[in-house]
Symmetry: C2
Subunit: 332 residues, 2 copies
């Protein structure tokens, strides 16, 4: 720890790692310190592009560096479990990309490790920290739309079909649900709690992963969620929260939106506009450093219980829709 | 029959009956001839307002009038079966409000009666004949959006909760699914055929009817539908048809829309705008008269098979979501 300025490391050099690094530069208390990759060439290229001080050709070297405070785990889904454990067992705070693990069992082991090592751990559910989403939660808590009755949300884009790529490869944990469907599921859980009942269908790509997934939740508070995701067609990627007294519309793309509309019958629609520097990954990074400042190993804003609810709901959806992965990537 | 000008009668004097009468006036070959109600007072009031020639205080008198060519059955859902049979058995062509019956068994008896009596019969699924919907079907048939992958549609409005009124009264066949959910279900069936599998949830009003219903269809052509309806919150009442090559957006309120957008990646959105005189009930009325001109007892555009698919799908949704009615209104 460096007087409340933190040395960040990034594990992985993919697209998200790059966007995250750009957003991290917006934070004065974040030092872009190290990057680790299984390829020293990729690590050096990434470090050079984003001006990191160190580049490591293995994750083991990265976590062995005593100057690293926080590791952002940005490897493919199937590696989150192993990579996070490596960091936690080496005393590094971890911000791990979503989904936090391939299943609930893996995540429970990760929590155990964070507790045992007394190290901070959080799933990188960045939408939770975006100002537009926070506004949406505030409006609901203030009663602006009455009781929630129907949550409607999707996340769709037409991806290039590449069987070697991450999105359609079962060995890399590909598929629509875990990659993008997680966002609408997160929304429903945040606003109406864990569902008491789940129904779902999936379409399958030739590789066996889900190319699209549709989901219905019934919540204990007498509300429904209607959610879907797809990698084979474009969509709105919007969210509507319909209540007894009005509707909140989080505009496209809702998971990183700058605009929230409050629509109430007989009233003029209220537009909430947010000026968001960068893409929005900096807000979750700020939360990590705030927690470390306060000596916490868990965020109260996106807690382990939040992640547990999310991953166990994803497990339940997979069971209901028949989405499965090779055993070797689900093991502990 | 009166030289291709037809004497229309309306059975029922409710809101839809009134709107239908207004639209009927737009058609030169439609003669607003008679109205029948269980109350002679209401019949006379309706006839006076809409300038019908005859007002009858019973449905039996209405169908006994030899000058009546076509009866538009606009009574509550639970009466469609009995009222339509009365008309058909008296040799009157019937346009029956949706849902055509309370269940598949009732509808099969209605078809039998139309066949036996050699009389025209059609469900008043007016959206099928609206120019914007026809355009949507044409665009899909031309391949404008490639293969359909996801159909997304809702029908929502916050109704006044009145346990005596039609919408929430189980004895009148109330509930969201049969009244408004039928439209999204119709859309999915029209565009992707009868689903091979259905999942659904319902929320219940105190009266026992469904106040909201969410539905997922899996179609044989490897497509999904995500549908919902609600009487307890406002909603978009829009339809999106997402294909491999683009999206068709039927704008709110989609079931009677004047605007269809064709959205394709890298191309400017194409807006199709339709000038629609009246509300749009006249298009289905035109189809009835066209069929009679041609001596048909069934429309090929919205056929008995279309209605059978629709009512049997509604039956399946009800079973899946636990929506039931008192036995006396489902009987034959």
């Amino acid at each position: 720890m460096t007087n409340n300025k933190y040395n960040w490391a990034i594990l992985g050099t993919g697209k998200i790692a790059s966007i995250f690094a750009s957003d991290l530069k917006l934070l004065p208390n974040a030092n872009l310190y190290a990057v680790g990759s299984r390829s020293i060439g990729l690590a050096k290229e990434f470090a050079s592009k984003h001006v990191f001080q160190k580049a490591y050709g293995s994750y083991e070297e990265l976590v062995a560096d005593p100057a690293v405070d926080i590791v952002y785990v940005a490897s493919p889904h199937v590696k989150h479990y192993g990579n996070s454990l490596l960091c936690l067992n080496n005393g590094k705070a971890v911000l791990c990309e979503k989904p936090v693990a391939m299943n609930e069992q893996q995540f429970r082991m990760m929590i155990d490790s964070a507790k045992k090592n007394k190290v901070f751990f959080m799933e990188a559910l960045w939408t939770r920290f975006i100002p537009s989403f926070i506004k949406c939660k505030e409006l609901i808590e203030e009663g602006a739309i009455g009781d929630i009755k129907l949550i409607e949300s999707d996340f769709c884009f037409k991806a290039i079909y590449d069987i070697e790529g991450r999105l359609f490869n079962p060995l890399l944990g590909g598929g629509a649900l875990l990659d993008i469907g997680i966002y609408p599921v997160f929304l429903a859980l945040q606003l109406s709690g864990k569902p008491i009942s789940i129904k779902a269908f999936a379409l399958k790509a030739d590789t066996g992963v889900d190319s699209a997934c549709s989901m219905l939740f019934k919540h204990s508070d007498n509300a429904l969620s209607v959610l879907f995701c797809s990698l084979i067609n474009d969509g709105q990627t919007e969210a509507f929260i319909h209540g007894t007294e009005g509707t909140i519309h989080i505009k496209s793309m809702w998971h990183m939106s700058s605009v929230v509309d409050l629509i109430r019958e007989g009233e003029e629609t209220v537009h909430f506009q947010f000026i968001k520097p960068g893409i929005g990954y900096q807000y979750e990074a700020t939360e990590v450093m705030k927690c470390l400042d306060e000596g916490k190993i868990e965020s109260s804003i996106f807690s382990w219980q939040n992640s547990l609810d999310l991953i166990s709901t994803l497990d339940a959806i997979r069971k209901e829709a028949g989405i499965s992965y090779p055993k070797e990537i689900e093991k502990l």
